[in-house]
Symmetry: C2
Subunit: 262 residues, 2 copies
């Protein structure tokens, strides 16, 4: 498995020296733009992905010509282009689950007033695929496309249900087990959490990503036993036992509705 942790932690920057395949450079460029979330000059881009300037210019030109990237009006900085949007819409069209899931998440956050999210695994990483903000005055951080270590989340515990311990170990780096507050999770505990979540059919985590929220999640199945996605609600940590229970019920209900009976 050469691909392995490519994106993951180490991102060891395979000793810059060697000559890189153009396509890989392009993939890095796209990923880099995804993290910066805004247009960037070509020179900086070259630095950012640690690629030679001349190469970067060439590749960027190709991508701009193809419409995958667009040049800002200043004629220097670039960002994602319309074509990526169109391809993205194609993806949505071809993906019932995503389409219905987005809808359901929007409904859920409107009905409950809480922040709601649809989450999936994306090349072995936890990804917020769609988020709807809810009506609370303070912003609960969560944006579409955000990637977070699996062990930090309730959804992560559900998404890994059914995997062998070895597989789980492969997907979780040591750094991932260190929570934002510095505490270190034991892998065995995490594995146990996953097993438990699998049985109960939902998962709640409190104060993991930050100290003020808890996260309620329910699994969406694409086939019996296969968790394809999760829906989750992010609520204040002091939400009452009772309301939490209600929300979980609602959440499980909606998630079940999404699960294909195909």
């Amino acid at each position: 498995m050469q691909d392995g942790n490519a994106s993951a932690v180490s991102a060891g920057e395979k000793i810059s020296g060697s000559r890189e395949k153009g396509l890989n450079r392009v993939l890095e460029i796209l990923e880099f733009l995804h993290t910066t979330q805004r247009a960037i000059g070509i020179g900086d881009l070259a630095k950012g992905v640690n690629a030679p300037r001349s190469t970067t210019y060439t590749l960027v030109r190709s991508l701009v010509d193809a419409g995958l990237l667009e040049m800002e009006s200043d004629g220097n900085r670039v960002y994602f282009g319309k074509k990526l949007y169109l391809y993205g819409m194609d993806y949505v069209r071809g993906n019932d689950l995503l389409r219905r899931g987005r809808q359901e998440v929007d409904n859920l956050s409107r009905e409950t007033g809480e922040t709601s999210e649809l989450c999936m695994l994306q090349s072995g990483r936890y990804t917020i695929v769609h988020a709807s903000p809810g009506t609370r005055p303070f912003r609960i951080s969560s944006a579409t496309g955000l990637q977070i270590p699996l062990p930090w989340t309730a959804s992560g515990r559900l998404l890994l249900a059914g995997l062998e311990k070895a597989e789980i170990e492969d997907m979780v780096s040591d750094d991932d087990l260190v929570l934002p507050d510095g505490r270190k999770l034991r892998l065995d505990d995490f594995v146990a959490d996953i097993a438990k979540a699998r049985i109960t059919g939902y998962c709640v985590t409190s104060g993991l990503v930050d100290a003020y929220t808890k996260c309620l999640a329910a699994p969406v199945f694409s086939a019996p036993g296969k968790v394809e996605a999760t829906m989750c609600l992010v609520v204040p940590i002091d939400t009452s036992e009772e309301r939490t229970g209600e929300l979980i019920g609602l959440l499980r209900n909606r998630a079940a509705k999404l699960s294909t009976v195909a």
Copy 2:
């Protein structure tokens, strides 16, 4: 409207025989998937983009690993992947016009009951960026991402406003001037249409794409004189003079609202 001409017309489309750069192959693959609009086997894909099988396997593996493509559960066919969706959402986030335009189009079709679209130029081609179907019993064909020759549309006449005749000539192939019913448009007439549309500030075409509809379009400006997009309504060709007038008024209004005053 299969795209048929895609291969023939615009892009250079060199007789690919010789050795091709990997990135170009990838771009062709993406474009091919965009036209097929569904998952396809790797072997067929290789045929479709006219690339060697071994190369195609290699590239597809890279793309799947990167998440730009996803393998269907049958383990053979591939289609667009989550990452493209995420990048696409990034594009939307970074693009006020698109975000507001989508909203406005949805509003418009809900209010009028007619099919409404947001259109833009995409690497020199007319593209329906977002469409909302309207409530009429019969389906008016129009899907997000669809690409149509510029001269067939009302929007096309607005999008080219302000360009020199030579530039227009460059963007329009001979085939583009042949309407679906076989009639051939004269380039001069088309250029004249464009000039007229520019002055009147809207455009109506009747029975061009098909014999049963007419198309009303209004320009969205990103800067004085620079048409960045158009909004349009597709209505039955026998829509009364009066209602047509009302709709155009509404359309121009909304399009103006979209135009940035930045």
